[in-house]
Subunit: 212 residues, 2 copies
Amino acid sequence: MSKNAISNSVIRRLPRYYRFLGDLEANGYVRISSRELAEKMGLTASQIRQDFNCFGEFGQQGYGYNVTGLRGEIGKILGLDKQTPMILLGAGNLGRALASHIDFRNRGFDLVGIFDANPDLVGMKIGELTVMDVSAIESFCSENKPTAAILCIPRESAEKEVEKLISYGIRAFWNFTHYDLRVTHKDVAVENVHLGDSLTTLSYCLNSSDEK
Amino acid sequence: MSKNAISNSVIRRLPRYYRFLGDLEANGYVRISSRELAEKMGLTASQIRQDFNCFGEFGQQGYGYNVTGLRGEIGKILGLDKQTPMILLGAGNLGRALASHIDFRNRGFDLVGIFDANPDLVGMKIGELTVMDVSAIESFCSENKPTAAILCIPRESAEKEVEKLISYGIRAFWNFTHYDLRVTHKDVAVENVHLGDSLTTLSYCLNSSDEK
DNA sequence: TAGATTGTTAATCGATTAACAATC
DNA sequence: TAGATTGTTAATCGATTAACAATC
């Protein structure tokens, strides 16, 4: 269906386009040219036009792009017009923060279940949801058919759980554990978030900028 | 001091090398070849050798790399041999999760102060630290000289605070707010973490893989 | 129509991979 | 010494930028 395979660099820029277009829309912009958008985002107009043309012709010569229209197209490309049911494994600090902080529905997902192995956390209310015991995952999945999961559990537990989760029908992982999840199954998507690596990068930048 | 400017692609791989070498060390590895490390990390041996050679000659022909030695060198490059004092702005869900979840000292930082504008949170204990009122930031900075800050506050507050923080001596930002912080001041490092964008990317991957 | 700006092809730049001489 | 593996140069690949004809 889509043209040639889309490069990873382009994919990583899509959510940012979507975000900026949302801001523009909120600020009353009706149209925008690639040149103007490039300026606002710190990119080049060429790159923006190349990126959009991976997916279709969204603009109009002599005019530019309609902000609302373009945002809608990119939203559809990103799959934000539907919500994938998602479960959260791990109701510790980070899991709870994500559950309450992230706007799942506007990111293409719907958080439908939270699980933890710690009996002290089971039964706890987080937003609309109540933390369930991990042992309930299988039956929950066969009943509710979530296809995405957030991993906020210790590394060892994650390594054990992943195969099971795939067998329960999970096809996408948002992985916050301390290892690089590399699933060999095709048709399983993984987004690794390494907060530690991110902070370490900042340390490099801070320390390498003075030594000149 | 350093050779030519290091490319961003290389910098982003450094924390991952450091992490993998730590695992290898913990598993009793003494030496490793670029070929073997490449296999474990899903890279090519060429790339690994190119990356390391940006910073020096850490290996030995016919032998490979000493795991502990190499890890130490990369740690030094990343600035992990010292700890930069860091403050946290925003003691909401995400701020609290980071404060308790992140191993700052092994990432080159030391969390020394937490601030929030919400009087309900001021006074709260998070680990060893007690949440202070935002109004105390300036005097805290002049006394304790932190040079890094985590932003876990609303977008509007962040836009207002950043300039002030720079004037107080902050030179590195770990930014979790909903906008792309682009500081024009040179010598100020920024690491933007967009959890929303990350989840949105996962939505794209999940939705584009089926349509074939 | 004239002016503006896209969609798209061609040129450039940078990053990754391959190859191999140096050397432990 | 022979075998292994690095450090480094050269070749390839992919992504970004520039240019311009098409067209609104």
